[in-house]
């Protein structure tokens, strides 16, 4: 009896705490539920992450944040984009890392959901080539220019002496070029 009473008393002592915790959690969860549509578009981090994934509705090439479907009754993010924004917002609220959030989308939709290719594997080529190709071209131009210059110097050294009247005429014409 005493034991039962003690247990009941303990139970009565604990219940208000549980109730308070439950109320708190409900309130937090409730406020989150209510605020999803609002915060999905207003959290900077959520917005930024939304810009890194593509809206997968199939009707546009926009990001989840930038989706702006015209037509229908509303011009703005389509239902797919809104769903993606909402999911991002939930993950942001849970304080998941960016990589984890993006990875979850990749698992759901495949790599095409990322708005830029990840810099790994074959996709690394997407990032490297626009840098490497101009550098190679630069090296090529450098060598071509040097070769041209070298040839030019050789030609001058081995060529006949230029008469002075030709030289003065050339200088006159070079001077005129400035005027032109």
């Amino acid at each position: 009896m005493i034991r039962r009473h003690t247990a009941k008393a303990r139970c009565l002592r604990v219940r208000p705490r549980l109730l308070a915790l439950a109320t708190f959690l409900f309130a937090v969860q409730g406020s989150l539920l209510i605020s999803y549509p609002l915060y999905a578009q207003q959290t900077d981090r959520g917005k930024e992450l939304g810009r890194r994934v593509k809206c997968m509705c199939g009707g546009c090439e926009d990001s989840a944040t930038g989706c702006n479907h015209t037509g229908g009754s509303f011009s703005g993010p389509c239902d797919t984009a809104k769903g993606m924004q909402k999911e991002i917002n939930e993950r942001v609220t849970r304080n998941e890392s960016d990589d984890l959030t993006l990875q979850a989308f990749v698992q759901e939709y495949g790599p095409t959901v990322l708005i830029v290719p990840p810099a790994k594997g074959f996709n690394l080529a997407a990032w490297i080539m626009p840098v490497v190709a101009p550098l190679l071209a630069l090296v090529l131009v450098w060598f071509v220019a040097r070769r041209w210059r070298h040839k030019g110097m050789l030609a001058t050294a081995s060529g006949p002496e230029v008469p002075s009247e030709f030289l003065s005429r050339a200088r006159r014409e070079a001077g005129k070029e400035y005027d032109e």
Binding site: K54, F74, P111, V116, P117, A145, W148
Partner: protein, 689 residues
């Protein structure tokens, strides 16, 4: 009348084929009669395609809904100017427009040069006819705009039929710019065929010297100018109609229009090397070839569905035709080059790495790097799918990351290049030419930093923009100062005189200045803001310095569409500034809704308001407001580019020295001692370049 259009197109194809056959026969047999006959066939193609275009326009204006193309892209209530523009609303019509513009260019190229360059023109005629033949084949057999509607009657016999009204024009195209944007872009694409034809003809015919470059200079500039206008109009249309607050999304179709523009720009610069120094002959020929190939590739991307794009046409077999044609062009170009490569040896060599020549080399290198980066990003999803089986996305952040540094370096070269002398530039000249512009750029950067300009790319862009502007101004100033001192005129008229004496050079500077304005406009992007809010009547939305009060929502009926409109009053610092009326239009024939953005534009910023419609959750009207800084600079820069190109195409005003006795000179006393007293400058307007 119903079959006139298709009959004209068929005849045009026959004429184009005849122009090829007779042209080749004329070249081989050297019979003038044959080459003239081929040329006349080339001219006839234009007349016949014009008849076909006229027929299709007639069907649109007379609401002939027995024609499948008219029924698909027009309706009775469509305003007449959109009926006119409906010609290029679909694949068949836009290909016909392409053919018509190409035949127009070919007509004028053949007509203007009919009594000139007898060794070159037969080759040019054959190349032009070859390209026309390809497009006319598409017009006749693959995507004919003259298909008629037909249906089976009760007995199962097919009979011609007609709709009572058409499906209407795509609402996205019902905007004034869409009346002129596609023709402008197509005038650019097709215009590059002319320099291509002359380059290939010169190579095939081993035409001596740089003559083909002189002949095609204006043609290239015309095509380049149209391409620039087309791209900018497309950007403005995207900005004003699509309602997303931006103007460039690196969409594959946008990229496709940019690629030939970039190589065309490189060509316009590198031809100067060939003209002045007889260098880069191989490079120039291949630049023209590449530009033309990129025009075809762009069309292939737009129409084949190879890449995902919001405004690519639906997938169709037409892409295979373009692939085939592209392969043929590559083979012909490469074979011609290989056979005649000895004809393209440089006359001169590079004297110094610090010279105008090397600046052109680097300019070309950077432009080609930009072209490669855009092409690579556009095609990488296809490549990735092909190689590893994964389709990936390459979106705007990729293009921005890769292209912004390239573009900024190009902007730097725009300032550096013109200040370097041909052959060699001394260190003293470098110091003299660059000191003030460089200082001006740095000062501008410091001021911008003080005013809170923190985005690094925008800051660099601003510094370089000021630097390039000052180099351009210094070029005008130094040239004008010499003329003013010699003529005794004031500086302003001396600037005019200077410009008209070398329109190409100073027109080019004006184009460079226009590009600076465009760059500065783009530099405003990082500072964009936007706010979206559900707004009942009487509610306010705040963005930047503006406060927007919702006054009313109403509906307006129109024959072609019904619109729902918001009436917004814009306040700034508590003072009413303007009324804006963003709307949403519901097009009755196509049952599609579109937004019509309200923009209040100023040099500092655009207030850009979209009425997004009613919220699906609670039915409240939703307003999306954007504050986009400096956007107006882009459109203004575009106008300056066009004016500069126009100026560069004008013939130079020549000066002639006229001997006159010293006593008769009214201004003889004012002549500086360094100027000969017998030289008085008389001017005459000369039509020749």
């Amino acid at each position: 009348m119903d079959i006139l259009g298709s009959f004209a197109l068929l005849l045009a194809l026959l004429a184009a084929v005849y122009a090829i056959v007779a042209g080749i026969a004329g070249i081989v047999t050297r019979k003038t009669l044959l080459t003239k006959s081929a040329r006349n066939a080339g001219l006839a193609v234009f007349v016949l395609v014009t008849i076909a275009v006229g027929c299709l326009e007639y069907y649109f204006f007379t609401d002939n809904f027995s024609m499948a193309y008219v029924a698909a892209h027009s309706n009775r209530a469509l305003p007449f100017y959109y009926k006119f523009a409906a010609l290029w609303a679909g694949q068949e019509g836009s290909l016909l427009l392409w053919t018509w513009l190409l035949s127009t260019y070919a007509f004028f190229a053949l007509l203007v040069n009919r009594n000139k360059h007898p060794e070159l023109m037969p080759y040019v005629g054959v190349v032009l006819a070859g390209v026309q033949t390809f497009f006319l084949t598409l017009n006749n057999f693959v995507a004919t705009p003259f298909a008629v509607l037909a249906g089976a009657d009760q007995s199962g016999v097919m009979r011609l039929s007609a709709l009572s009204d058409g499906h209407g024009l795509n609402p996205l195209l019902q905007y004034p710019e869409m009346v002129i944007h596609p023709p402008m872009l197509y005038l650019g694409y097709t215009g590059f065929t002319v320099p291509f034809a002359f380059a290939l003809a010169a190579l095939l015919g081993r035409y001596p010297g740089e003559k083909w470059i002189h002949i095609t200079r204006r043609w290239t500039m015309i095509a380049w100018c149209f391409q620039s206008v087309g791209i900018l109009l497309g950007a403005h249309w995207a900005y004003a109609v699509l309602g997303w607050g931006g103007y460039w999304a690196w969409d594959p179709v946008e990229n496709a229009s940019l690629l030939p523009w970039i190589t065309g720009t490189a060509f316009l610069h590198s031809v100067m090397m060939q003209e002045k120094r007889g260098m880069m002959k191989v490079w120039n020929v291949w630049l023209v070839f590449t530009t033309f190939m990129l025009c075809i590739l762009g069309t292939l991307l737009t129409r084949s569905g190879i890449v995902s794009s919001v405004h690519a046409f639906a997938q169709s077999s037409i892409g295979d035709w373009f692939v085939g044609f592209l392969i043929l062009v590559v083979v012909v170009c490469f074979a011609s080059y290989w056979k005649n490569r000895d004809y393209l040896h440089s006359d001169n060599q590079l004297d110094s790495l610090v010279s105008r020549e090397s600046s052109f080399l680097f300019n070309n290198l950077i432009l080609l790097a930009a072209c490669f980066a855009v092409l690579w990003g556009t095609l990488f999803p296809v490549l990735s799918e092909w190689v590893v089986g994964n389709k990936i996305s390459v979106g705007p952040p990729f293009f921005n990351k890769v292209n912004i540094p390239i573009a900024l370096f190009l902007l730097l070269l725009t300032g550096v290049g013109p200040l370097l002398a041909w052959r060699k530039t001394s260190f003293d000249a470098l110091k003299r030419n660059f000191a003030w512009p460089l200082l001006g750029g740095v000062v501008a950067g410091v001021i911008a930093l003080i005013f809170g300009f923190r985005d690094i790319y925008s800051l660099i862009c601003l510094i370089l923009g000021v630097f390039v502007t000052l180099t351009i101004l210094s070029e005008f100033y130094r040239g004008a100062r010499v003329i003013a001192a010699r003529d005794g005129s004031n500086l302003v008229s001396a600037v005019g005189e200077l410009t008209m004496r070398n329109t190409r050079r100073y027109g080019g500077y004006v184009v460079h200045f226009g590009m600076v304005l465009i760059f500065i406009g783009i530099a405003g992007v990082p500072f964009n803001k936007d706010v979206q809010k559900e707004m009942a009547i009487g509610q306010t939305l705040n963005i930047g310095p503006y406060s927007i009060l919702c006054q009313n929502f109403d509906r307006v009926a129109n024959g072609n569409y019904d619109s729902e409109r918001a009436t917004l009053e814009v306040f700034r610092n508590g003072k009413s500034e303007m009324m804006l009326y963003p709307e949403r239009r519901f097009f009755l024939s196509s049952q599609v809704t579109e937004t019509m953005v309200a923009v209040q534009s100023s040099p500092l910023r655009d207030l850009y308001i979209v009425y997004a419609g009613r919220s699906p959750e609670n039915g409240e009207p939703v307003i999306h407001a954007y504050l986009n800084p400096l956007v107006k600079w882009i459109w203004f820069g575009g106008i300056v580019v066009v004016l500069g190109t126009g100026l560069a195409m004008l013939p130079n005003r020549r000066t002639a020295l006229v001997l006159r006795p010293v006593a008769e000179q009214a201004w003889g006393d004012r002549v500086p001692a360094t100027v000969s007293p017998i030289g008085a400058i008389a001017r005459r307007g000369d039509a020749s370049d």
